[in-house]
Structures are given as structure tokens and as C-alpha cells.
């Protein structure tokens, strides 16, 4: 069953001649682990942002189940993001004033709910951050910070987790740890995950790989 469908997505930035994303259609199955690869500047991040509802396409649509997300207003779209999407960036993008635990529970709290302690504990254990739950981001290493960001993406069990070069800034050991956490979530609770990466080794671990070049979908596997 397709969980997320993109139809003829085109994104043209104002002032640019060629579109950053050109007529891309794609569908993502529930429980899938998808990797998007392509050279730098090919439009991978642009696609990911459109899938996650953080940008708006020039034309085309994105459907989550039966909802066309770009027909929603700002508030509805925000609620869509916090409930249905987990975003992970190359730079860890944590709130510097919040502790590890608070950063992780932030999207749920924004929804006016609290995360049951057992669930948080379990997640912290999976991430290997039990010891650090009260620490501030500035007291963490890069790998640890990225694990917090992953925790924040996973906590609400969103429909889809989107990661933009989550290991781009990390050494190999830390990269593998990050990928392990993502794979574990995919395997254990069937979390749908989309990862952008340069790294052929990481792409090789994905269930499906698609390639983008010059804003166009080149091949799928």
C-alpha cells in the first residue's frame, strides 16, 4: 500500500532558469526503507522538503494516504508535519536551551500531549542516550546530537521519516551507528524511512534506491 505519493512535482526557485525539480512522480510504500542518491545540487533536498511539507511545489501534488497536503492551510500543514513527518537534517538542528529528553519530546509537546515515560526510556535506550537525557546539546558530540535528532523524528511514530544526509557530517563509526538506529526502527516497528545520501555503502543498505540528476528522476531499482 502506498503511504505517500508524489505526482508531477516541479519546483522552480524564483530567479532560476531551470527548475530544481522537474516533473518528479514517485510513490513510497508503508514500511519501506528508501534511499535517494544523486550528485550535489541535483535536487535531492528539494524533493525531500516537498515530501515533508516544509516547502511548497511550483506544481504537482503530494498525497499522504488520501490527503493532498498542499491543499492544507498553514496551521493544518504544521499539524501535519508534527504528527506525520519526522525530519532529520545534516546539521543536527536541536534547540540549544532544551535538554536531550526535551528536544526529543518537543513535537509531541507541541501537540499538547506528553510522552509516556516508558516509551521515552525505551527510545533513549535504543539511541544509547540514557546517560545523557538531562544534557544540553552543547554537551554532546556530533554523533550524539544526531541521535537526539533521530529520536525527535521517531518519537511520534510518524507516517514517514525523512533524513537529509544524516551522516554527512560524521565519521564512519558514528555514521554506522546512526544507520543502525534507523534500520532498527524500520525493522522493529515498520517505520517508513527515506534517506538522502552520497555514500554508496549506505545506499546499498536500503531496500530501494532512486537516483536524481538535474532535477529529474533517473532510475529506480
Amino acid at each position: 500500500m502506498a503511504i505517500l505519493t508524489a505526482d508531477h512535482l516541479t519546483k522552480k526557485y524564483p530567479g532560476e532558469d531551470t527548475p530544481a525539480l522537474d516533473d518528479v512522480s514517485l510513490s513510497i510504500e508503508a514500511g519501506e526503507f528508501l534511499a535517494i542518491v544523486g550528485p550535489s545540487g541535483s535536487g535531492k533536498s528539494t524533493l525531500l522538503h516537498l515530501l515533508g511539507g516544509v516547502d511548497r511545489p511550483t506544481s504537482g501534488s503530494v498525497q499522504l494516504y488520501d490527503t493532498d497536503i498542499y491543499k492544507l492551510n498553514e496551521t493544518q500543514l504544521a499539524i501535519f508535519r508534527r504528527r506525520q513527518v519526522g525530519l532529520i537534517y545534516q546539521f543536527y538542528n536541536l534547540m540549544p536551551e532544551l535538554t536531550v529528553a526535551e528536544n526529543i519530546t518537543l513535537p509531541t509537546e507541541l501537540d499538547g500531549k506528553t510522552v509516556p515515560a516508558a516509551i521515552l526510556d525505551e527510545l533513549l535506550a535504543t539511541l544509547g542516550l540514557q546517560e545523557k537525557r538531562g544534557a544540553l546539546p552543547s554537551q554532546l558530540s556530533g554523533g550524539q546530537q544526531q541521535r537526539v535528532a533521530i529520536g525527535r523524528a521517531l518519537i511520534g511514530q510518524p507516517a514517514i521519516v525523512l533524513a537529509d544526509e544524516p551522516t554527512g557530517n560524521l565519521d564512519q563509526r558514528n555514521s554506522q551507528e546512526i544507520m543502525d538506529v534507523l534500520h532498527q526502527a524500520n525493522a522493529k516497528s515498520g517505520q517508513t524511512i527515506v534517506v538522502i545520501t552520497h555514500d554508496p555503502a549506505i545506499a546499498a543498505q536500503a531496500g530501494r534506491v532512486i537516483t536524481i540528476e538535474d532535477g529529474r528522476l533517473k532510475e529506480g531499482r
Binding site: G52, A78, E109, L110, S138
Partner: protein, 786 residues
């Protein structure tokens, strides 16, 4: 506590410098608001107390109340004070005076009420202590009757011998003052007028009308001291109420405008600096409404301590100012004191005002924050354009840091706004204070006379001269005889006005005035054809006709004296000019012999003549003793003490200067704080870029130098432009106000110096902060963390 509230509180704590800057900005705004409101409230109370002084605060009158109803009325809890008086009837002051023979009202009061109501209007003597003692109007004393004498008085046709113990000020506001006799009684017997001081002023007229009904009188007969009540905003007149409210609103509007700009800029800067964070929050699913709330909450959180500081500084500032002014007024015996009042009304208004201004100021930044696109935040985090541009120019940069500072200065549009604001602030400060300086300097006119005395009646010249020379050392002393005459027909400019005739010794008349009557011509304010004010001679200097003079009191059209006279500008006769200048209407100088002849021809009595002496003292300190000696020896003389008058003037001017300079300075501080805030915020914003520069080998000294140069450029440009504009502004304001006779313009160099010094101090503060910040900067963390 919601997660966003937690986040906002922690970020305030985290970014201490920014938080403190914003609180300082808001505190200045709050101080301005509190000081203005408490100041206005205190002035209001002071004016009210002065207005109701002579009626002892009893501003509402219920006439014709019966004894038992009066008791109930007077016990009402709506009053802070009450008193009652009874109108006994009419009286004739036969034998006491030849004036105002009829229509004198007689009032009776009990001892307690007499003390309350008569004390503030007692002009001389004491209060009656028995029922055959009376107070009389001040005009009734003199011409044979005096305090301490028994007089015959007719009351309701009945003849009584009563002891006059004191006099009443005829012009006081009190209902028992005026053309009246005031007596003591054990109890009131008939219908009476009940006077009350209301405990509060809200809905006064309606409440008093209701009380009137229960007191058995028609509400329409109740009278109010509307002019006093107007001060408290409790007048029955809707228009005067509206005026009072508009005054307060206008003041609040001015402060509100300034505070709004300032708070807006602070909040806006914070929001701008938090762009990435807000974008991140948006990408995590924060709704626009939640973000707006975050900004509002954060702003109000900062406004609260600012308001408390504002209360503290505003209240103490006004208290201190008023104490100072009061001390000065007491020293100069002005008989007016400011009452300090910081009650709930101005404080609540200040609180609401600050909350309102803060919310208003936060509205646009909040809207902007909610509109930040999540994508913008993500993208800027990936590549900061500033960083990459700088990285490209690494080596060039090292050599040309100062050129870079200049370039950045030119590129930065916010700095353009700051420059305009700074220039305007400096210009307004110098312009306004310089203008005030000139105005005040011009009111301090020099004086030839320290003291003048005029004694009506027979020639007292020898006695006056003797007393003055005994009492004090004089620099100059002139003693002359004066009388007045009416100018008939000629010269045309003086027709139907009274003219002073001054007698000088025959020898002097011959020597200084060529034995010819001499008219001392003065200049008066006139209006020319274009409606511009200018000074013109009272009598045209080319006039060579005669002077036709008649008796000053009776308007007979027949001239007693017709004479030729030399026309001389008063200013060329300084010895005498000082004597006659006081009324500004010229004078005719004659010899003693001629004066005596004219007195007869004009039909003047001895009582129409006065001895006038003008003194310039060697030691101004002697003035008090001399005034006292003169008024004791010459009863009924008029003594004018210009030194005391000057002291009062100086006190008023100083008070005025303190208040206006204080207000201007506070306003200047408000906008300076905005600029400081902005520069510091810009510095904080650059933290990461600066760390990058440091990481590639720029020393902190080089960076400090670059930033100092940037700030110096801003301050020097603003200072120079502001000084130019400010000096021009003060000159222009001065030209607008000026008349030919004002002194020449004083360039406000002291004010300019003060402004420039202020800018230098600010620059120094910037320099020190920058140095400290760069020294303690954790480069690694700043480059890596968002």
C-alpha cells in the same frame, strides 16, 4: 508550563546580553511613562489643593438644609470633611467706612467650623472667640476703624457694638468671604448651608444629587466649585472633562510613540536573530499561532521586570525632583508646594499602558515570526552566505579588515536607519535644550532697581531718604514726588490715559532739564501692518505739539495745564528712568516749584500725591531688612521687592529647566538606548561570523579594531550631522520666537559638548564590551552549533 514557554524562558536566560538590553530599553520606556503619569497626577493634586485652599476643600454646597437633615447629611461616609454656616441677614457697616455701604452678608458658624472655614481666608488679626467679636472685609479697615476697636454695626436693622478682631480676604473663593461679616455662635438655629469635601470624585454630581434629595433640598440648588473639580476630572461639564482626558492622552501618545518604536525595535531584533530557530520550530510542526504566542509571551515576560524597574525609577525620580523643587520654593517663600502622589490610578494606567505598548510593539514581529518558512531556516543552516563569502577572501581579508569594516558599514541598511535615528536624537537634544537655554537666558533681564517704595499722601522724601540710608548701603538712590494727570486730546497717542508727573529739585531741573518740562518717552509693544510684533515709541519722536493735562480722577474735558515739553527717550535718563519705567508709560519731569503749581491747577489733593523712592543696594542681602523697616515705618506704603521677585523667578525657571531638560534627556535616552540596543544586537548576531574570522587567524585585537571603527563611523557621522542640525534647529526655533528686544542668540555649545560626550561614552562602552566578548568567545562551539 508548556514546552514553548519553557523554551522562551530558557532562551531569555541563555541570551543574557540581549535580554538585558531589551529590559533596559523597556525600563526606560516604563520609567518615562510612570514618571509622566505620577508627575501629572501629583501636579493635578497640587493644583487642586491650591484651588481649594481658601475654601478648605469644601467644594460642594448644600444650601437651605434643616437642622435634623443636616446632621444626617454631614454624617455621610462620602465626605472627608464637612462644615455648616448660617446666614443671619444683611448688615450696614455704618461709621466704619464710606464705601460699600449696603448688601453686607452676615454669617454665623460654630467654633469648630469657624476654625476650618475662616482660617484660610483670614487676612489679618485672629478668629472670633466670643459671640460679640467679628471679622470684617479688609476694605472696612482704615479711615478711622481698626482691628481691636469696637464698632457700631447694624444687623437686620438692629444696632450692635461689636469688637473687630480680624479681616477677611475679600477675593477668596470661600462662600463666607467677600462682602461679609463673620461671627461665632454656640449652635446654629435655622436652615443652613452644608459645605462638604468629597472623599472621592467618581460620579460626583450624581451622588451629590442623590444626597440632596435625602437632605430635603432640590438637587439643582446644590452648587459646586466647578473650576476646582475640573482639575480632578469631576466637573459636571463634559467639555472640561474631555480636555483633561485629552491632556493625559496626548502625553501618553507622545511617550507611547517613542516607547513603541523602541520596544518594537528590540523585539524585532530578537525575532530576526531567532529566524533559524523559529524556522526549525516551524519544520517540527509548530503552528503560526503557537509561534505568535511565543513572541507575545516572551515580550510580556521582559516587560514585567521593566515595569517594576519603571515604577521604582519613575516614582523615585519624580519624588526627588519634587522634593528639590519644593525646597527651592520654600527658600524663596513662594507659598506653593508640590504634593507628591503616587496612588493606584497612575500606576495602574502605567501598567496597562506598558502592556498595551508591548503587545502592540510585538504584533508585527510576532506576525513575521509566524510567517518564517521552515525551509528558510534549514537552508541558512546549511550554508551561511556571509561565511562562504568571507572564506573566499581569507587572505585579502587579513590585510584589509578596515576596508571591510567600511564596506560593511555601507552595505548595512539597518545601520542607515540607526544613523538617521542617531542624527535626529542628537539634533533634537541639542536643538531643544539649546532653545530652552536661550529662552531662559532671555528671561533673566538685568535690573536697575532692587527695591521701590511708594507712599501716598504728604511729602515724605526726607523721612524716606533718612530711613533708607540708615538701614542699608545703597549704590543708587532716587527719591521723588509723583502725582498723576489725565492727558486730554494732545498728544494724540496718550489721549485719555493717565500720565505720571515727577518732581525733581529746582536746581537739578535747571541743570539736567534745561528748565523745561521734559517728557520721558518709552517704547511699547506694537503691531505693524504685516502683523509682526515690534516696539514703537509711545509718542512719535518728531512730536512738537503741546501737552494738555487735566485732573486724573475726574474726566473734565477742561485742561488745567497746557505745556510745551522736550521729548527725551527714557533710556537716556537712567537716574530717573528706573523710577518710572515700572509702569512702562513714560513720565513728565518738572521742578518742585512747577509741581506745586500744577497740583493746584489740576485740582489734585495731597492724597493724590506720592513719595516714590527707588534703591539699588550695594549688598542685595539687605533687601529683607529694608522692606521690613519701610513697611513698619510707613504704614500703607507699597513696597516692591524686585530681589524677592527675582528669587521666585529663578526658582520657577530652575524648576522649569529641571523638568524640561529632564524630559528632553529622557527622550534622548530612549532613542539612544534603541541605538545601543541595535549595535549590541548586531554584535551578537555577528558572533558566529566573528568566530569564523578568529578561527582563520584574525586576532581578537584586529576584530575589535574593525568593530570599533564601524561604531566610531556611525557615532561620528551621527554626531556631526546631529550637531549641525541641532544648532540650526535651536537657532530656527529661536528666530520663530524672537523679538527685536531679545538678547542675541547664544550658540548651544554646552549642550553640543554634552551630546558629543555622551556619544564618546557610548563608543567606549561598545569598545569594552566588544573586547570582552571576543576574548571569551568559544570559537569552536560557535562555528558548529546553530
Amino acid at each position: 508550563m508548556g514546552i514553548l514557554t519553557k523554551l522562551s524562558l530558557r532562551s531569555l536566560r541563555e541570551e543574557k546580553s540581549r535580554t538585558i538590553l531589551t529590559i533596559v530599553a523597556m525600563t526606560i520606556a516604563a520609567t518615562l511613562a510612570v514618571a509622566t503619569l505620577v508627575g501629572l497626577r501629583s501636579v493635578q493634586i497640587s493644583m487642586y489643593q491650591r484651588a481649594v485652599q481658601s475654601e478648605a476643600g469644601l467644594v460642594v454646597r448644600f444650601p437651605g438644609v434643616t437642622a435634623e437633615k443636616a446632621e444626617k447629611l454631614q454624617n455621610s461616609s462620602q465626605f472627608s470633611k464637612t462644615a455648616a454656616f448660617e446666614e443671619v441677614g444683611e448688615s450696614q457697616l455704618t461709621g466704619m467706612t464710606d464705601q460699600q455701604d449696603s448688601g453686607v452678608q452676615v454669617y454665623r458658624l460654630t467654633a469648630k467650623d469657624l476654625k476650618l472655614m475662616a482660617t484660610p481666608i483670614l487676612a489679618a488679626g485672629r478668629l472670633p472667640q466670643t459671640s460679640d467679636e467679628i471679622l470684617v472685609p479688609s476694605y472696612a479697615i482704615g479711615d478711622g476703624s481698626a482691628i481691636g476697636q469696637r464698632e457700631t454695626v447694624h444687623i437686620n436693622g438692629q444696632k450692635r457694638r461689636l469688637l473687630v478682631v480680624g479681616t477677611i480676604d475679600m477675593y477668596a473663593m470661600s462662600p463666607i468671604a467677600g462682602n461679609s461679616l463673620v461671627m461665632l455662635t454656640k449652635t446654629l438655629t435655622g436652615k443652613r448651608t452644608v459645605m462638604v469635601a468629597p472623599a472621592s470624585f467618581g460620579g460626583l454630581h450624581a451622588r451629590m444629587s442623590a444626597l440632596a434629595k435625602t437632605a430635603g433640598i432640590h438637587p439643582k440648588t446644590v452648587t459646586y466649585d466647578e473650576s476646582a473639580l475640573m482639575i480632578m476630572g469631576a466637573s459636571g461639564n463634559a467639555k472640561s472633562q474631555a480636555i483633561l482626558v485629552s491632556v493625559v492622552l496626548a502625553a501618553l501618545l507622545v511617550i507611547g510613540g517613542v516607547a513603541l518604536i523602541m520596544i518594537y525595535m528590540s523585539i524585532n531584533l530578537t525575532v530576526k536573530a531567532h529566524r533559524e530557530r523559529y524556522g526549525l520550530l516551524r519544520s517540527l510542526g509548530t503552528t503560526p499561532k503557537q509561534l505568535r504566542r511565543l513572541v507575545y509571551e516572551q515580550s510580556l515576560t521582559l516587560a514585567l521586570p521593566a515595569l517594576l524597574f519603571g515604577y521604582l525609577f519613575g516614582i523615585f525620580g519624580i519624588k526627588l525632583t519634587m522634593t528639590g523643587i519644593n525646597q527651592m520654593m520654600r527658600r524663596t517663600q513662594m507659598g506653593f508646594t508640590f504634593v507628591f502622589r503616587a496612588d493606584w490610578l497612575p500606576l495602574v494606567i502605567a501598567g496597562l499602558f506598558m502592556a498595551g505598548v508591548t503587545l502592540l510593539a510585538a504584533a508585527r514581529p510576532a506576525f513575521r515570526a509566524s510567517r518564517i518558512s521552515p525551509i528558510a531556516a534549514i537552508r541558512t543552516a546549511e550554508t551561511s552566505p556571509m561565511l562562504s563569502r568571507w572564506r573566499l577572501h581569507e587572505t585579502w581579508l587579513m590585510r584589509h579588515l578596515h576596508t571591510l569594516a567600511l564596506k560593511r558599514d555601507r552595505r548595512n541598511t539597518a545601520r542607515g536607519t540607526m544613523l538617521v535615528l542617531l542624527t535626529l536624537t542628537v539634533a533634537l537634544f541639542i536643538g531643544m535644550t539649546g532653545f530652552m537655554h536661550n529662552l531662559l537666558a532671555n528671561t533673566e533681564q538685568s535690573r536697575d532697581t532692587d527695591l521701590m517704595v511708594a507712599i501716598t499722601g504728604s511729602d515724605q522724601r526726607t523721612a524716606v531718604r533718612k530711613l533708607i540710608t540708615q538701614q542699608a548701603k545703597t549704590k543708587q538712590l532716587a527719591v521723588v514726588l509723583e502725582s498723576s494727570a489725565m492727558v486730554l486730546k494732545e498728544p494724540y497717542a496718550l489721549t485719555d490715559s493717565s500720565m505720571t508727573v515727577v518732581a525733581v529739585p529746582d536746581a537739578q531741573f535747571k541743570k539736567n532739564f534745561n528748565s523745561t518740562p521734559t517728557y520721558l518717552n518709552t517704547r511699547v509693544q506694537g503691531t505693524d501692518a504685516n502683523g509682526k510684533n515690534h516696539k514703537e515709541w509711545l509718542v512719535p519722536p518728531t512730536y512738537d505739539g503741546t501737552y494738555a493735562l487735566g485732573n486724573a480722577d475726574h474726566m473734565t474735558k477742561k485742561a488745567g495745564v497746557t505745556t510745551q515739553a522736550t521729548l527725551v527717550p527714557a533710556t537716556e535718563e537712567p537716574g530717573l528712568a528706573q523710577l518710572i519705567y515700572h509702569d512702562g508709560f513714560g513720565a513728565m519731569i518738572v521742578s518742585e516749584t512747577l509741581f506745586a503749581q500744577w497740583q493746584a491747577k489740576l485740582g489734585n489733593k495731597a492724597s493724590d500725591m506720592q513719595t516714590v523712592a527707588a534703591v539699588k543696594l550695594s549688598d542685595p542681602q539687605d533687601h529683607k531688612a529694608l522692606v521690613k523697616a519701610l513697611s513698619t515705618q510707613f504704614k500703607g506704603s507699597r513696597v516692591t521687592d524686585y530681589i524677592a521677585y527675582d528669587e521666585q523667578n529663578i526658582a520657577i525657571m530652575t524648576a522649569f529647566r529641571v523638568i524640561s531638560y529632564g524630559f528632553i534627556t529622557l527622550l534622548a535616552l530612549v532613542s539612544l538606548a534603541t541605538i545601543i540596543n541595535h549595535v549590541f544586537a548586531a554584535l551578537l548576531e555577528q558572533k558566529r561570523s566573528l568566530a569564523m574570522l578568529q578561527s582563520i587567524g584574525t586576532t581578537s585585537g584586529q576584530l575589535t579594531g574593525m568593530l570599533n571603527l564601524q561604531n566610531a563611523l556611525l557615532l561620528v557621522k551621527g554626531g556631526v550631522l546631529g550637531t549641525l542640525l541641532g544648532n540650526l534647529l535651536s537657532y530656527w526655533l529661536y528666530r520663530l520666537m524672537t523679538h527685536e528686544f531679545l538678547k542675541s542668540f547664544l550658540w548651544p555649545w554646552q549642550e553640543t559638548l554634552a551630546a558629543l560626550l555622551g556619544l564618546a561614552v557610548i563608543w567606549l562602552a561598545f569598545a569594552i564590551t566588544t573586547r570582552r566578548m571576543l576574548r571569551h568567545q568559544d570559537i569552536d562551539q560557535l562555528i558548529r552549533a546553530v
